[in-house]
């Protein structure tokens, strides 16, 4: 029987074990690669002798990430973003694996950026915008060129250059959350988690200062410590008194607790089926016709009124008001009343409190269920 002697690939004692390939170059494959899942292609030239390798394997350093192929090039994946790697290649056949090739030059793995961290979303103050704060993550080895911001419910995808971003085109009264993704030359990152929800509100110059619905009858109600920050005030009330009457009457106002004869008023109104007017000077209160419903009128009926007090914080002007008030009990003329009132307080003091009465200040209690609201207007 003839004996066939083989040759070793590298002078060792493994017959037909492949010779090491000749290393080529490594190239970063960053496009669309997820953060910390980079890739590189590694080229090589197979040895011209020493077996018939079926598989070539490239191995990174550091990390020992590997990729295999039957021919050049080999793609290695799973690389950490922004990390420099070198690669060697081995050849494998049925008899074993070659020694590693020499290493490539170092190549930095790049990917899309890390997902940003969402911050606080807040109403933008315009009724159609919201501000969205976020913190950038790692760039993925390639500079971040911008951010993509989306809303839920979906509107448009918008581009941001930095945080915070003002998202536009929203609908007032709708609740939104936002997500942000970072963009670099390789693509777009995963999205951040969703922000807190925010509902854009149309800006207003009308502010609720104080509001109460009486839980028990009261001789009067006082709005005190009224801030001086507004241009005017508006009282919106629905009042009913404790009297045994059945028709609409009047309410009364005093300012800053002043009970002296410094008030005056004038009224035009529908009273008992005819146009009426009256006025009075040197009064101890301002009377607002139609602003109070008598206690024995149709149940569940309160008299509404709207009273505007302008320049209330002035310290150089007397204070004036106009009031629109009425009451209707489904009784027809004689039981319903509607009218306009003007009022004057001959004081230059800034108004810091308003006391509301039904009837005259020595009259009746304000009944349970009456609602009194004070608004400030800028």
């Amino acid at each position: 029987m003839p004996i066939i002697f083989g040759t070793t690939a590298s002078g060792g004692d493994n017959y037909f074990r492949p010779q090491a390939p000749t290393i080529g170059t490594a190239t970063d494959v960053g496009t669309s690669r997820a953060y910390n899942n980079g890739a590189a292609t590694v080229t090589f030239t197979p040895a011209t002798s020493g077996g018939n390798p079926s598989t070539y394997t490239a191995t990174s350093s550091p990390g020992s990430y590997t990729g295999s192929a039957s021919s050049s090039p080999i793609t290695v994946t799973g690389l950490q973003s922004a990390t420099a790697y070198t690669y060697t290649v081995t050849a494998t056949d049925s008899e074993g694996t070659s020694a590693p090739s020499s290493a490539t030059g170092a190549v930095t793995a790049t990917t899309v950026p890390q997902a940003p961290t969402i911050g606080t979303a807040a109403d933008g103050g315009t009724g159609t915008t919201a501000t969205v704060a976020f913190t950038a993550g790692a760039a993925g080895g390639s500079s971040i060129t911008g951010y993509s911001v989306t809303s839920s419910p979906a509107t448009t995808t918008q581009s941001a250059s930095s945080s915070p971003y003002t998202f536009t085109g929203l609908t007032a009264g709708t609740s939104y959350t936002f997500q942000v993704a970072a963009i670099n030359a390789n693509g777009t990152s995963a999205s951040s988690s969703a922000s807190n929800s925010v509902t854009p509100v149309v800006p207003s110059n009308f502010f609720l200062i104080s509001q109460t619905t009486l839980g028990s009858p009261a001789a009067s109600y006082t709005f005190s410590s009224i801030p001086s920050t507004y241009k005017s005030l508006q009282l919106r009330m629905t009042l009913r008194d404790s009297s045994s009457g059945t028709s609409t009457g009047y309410m009364a106002l005093r300012f800053n607790g002043d009970t002296s004869s410094t008030y005056a008023y004038h009224q035009l109104y529908n009273s008992f089926g005819s146009v009426s007017e009256n006025g009075a000077a040197s009064q101890t209160f301002i009377q607002v016709q139609g602003g109070n419903m008598a206690g024995n009128a149709t149940a569940n009926v309160f008299a509404p009124s709207i009273t505007d007090i302008v320049d209330y914080a002035s310290t150089s002007k007397y204070k004036t008001l106009k009031s629109f008030a009425g009451g209707d009990t489904n009784g027809g003329s004689g039981y319903a009343e509607i009218g306009f009132s003007s009022g004057l307080w001959q004081s230059t003091a800034a108004i810091n409190s308003i006391t509301v009465y039904v009837g005259s200040p020595s009259g009746y209690n304000i009944n349970t269920g009456s609602t009194l609201s004070l608004y400030g207007v800028l």
Binding site: G173, N300, N330, G332, G369, T371
Partner: protein
């Protein structure tokens, strides 16, 4: 800073003549409502009436004071269908401005309104102030303005206060 309010809830602008304009699914988060309209009517004396929650019963009343430029007068209705906010009066195609405040619209009391109407046709017109009542304790979730031939381009905005 106190709570901002007086927020627009919805606006409708008529793209064609209409006899009714409805606001439905009114949110409950406000104390009062305010309806503001500017436009015109295609019919003389059509008036503007407002009903709530589709109630077609005679559960409304109103009382007004008005001026015509030469006369001041009053008018009242009881057990009628809708709050008549214009004393049955609108000038033909004259521009009008109308507003209605609706108080405690989600409360458990009967619903009361204050409205103002003005139109002027360069010599004729009217100014009207009206108090209205809907004898119902339900929260208001919809309202409808009814007239006859409200003109194209007329706008209605509902505000929450």
């Amino acid at each position: 800073m106190a709570t901002a309010t007086y927020i627009p809830i919805a606006t409708q602008t008529l793209s064609g003549s209409a006899n009714a304009v409805t606001f439905s699914s009114i949110p409950s988060g406000y104390t009062d409502l305010k309806l503001v309209s500017s436009g015109g009517s295609g019919a003389v004396g059509a008036g503007l009436s407002v009903i709530f929650n589709g109630d077609g019963g005679s559960n409304y009343s109103d009382s007004c004071i008005y001026g015509t430029g030469s006369t001041a007068a009053v008018s009242s209705d009881k057990n009628v269908y809708g709050v008549n906010s214009t004393a049955g009066y609108v000038s033909l195609q004259s521009p009008f401005l109308f507003s209605m405040d609706i108080f405690s619209y989600t409360g458990s009391t009967y619903k009361v309104t204050l409205s103002q109407f003005a139109d002027d046709n360069n010599g004729s017109g009217k100014v009207i102030a009206t108090v209205g009542l809907w004898r119902n304790t339900s929260a208001i979730t919809s309202l409808q303005v009814q007239s006859n031939g409200i003109l194209t381009g007329t706008t209605f905005t509902l505000w929450g206060i």
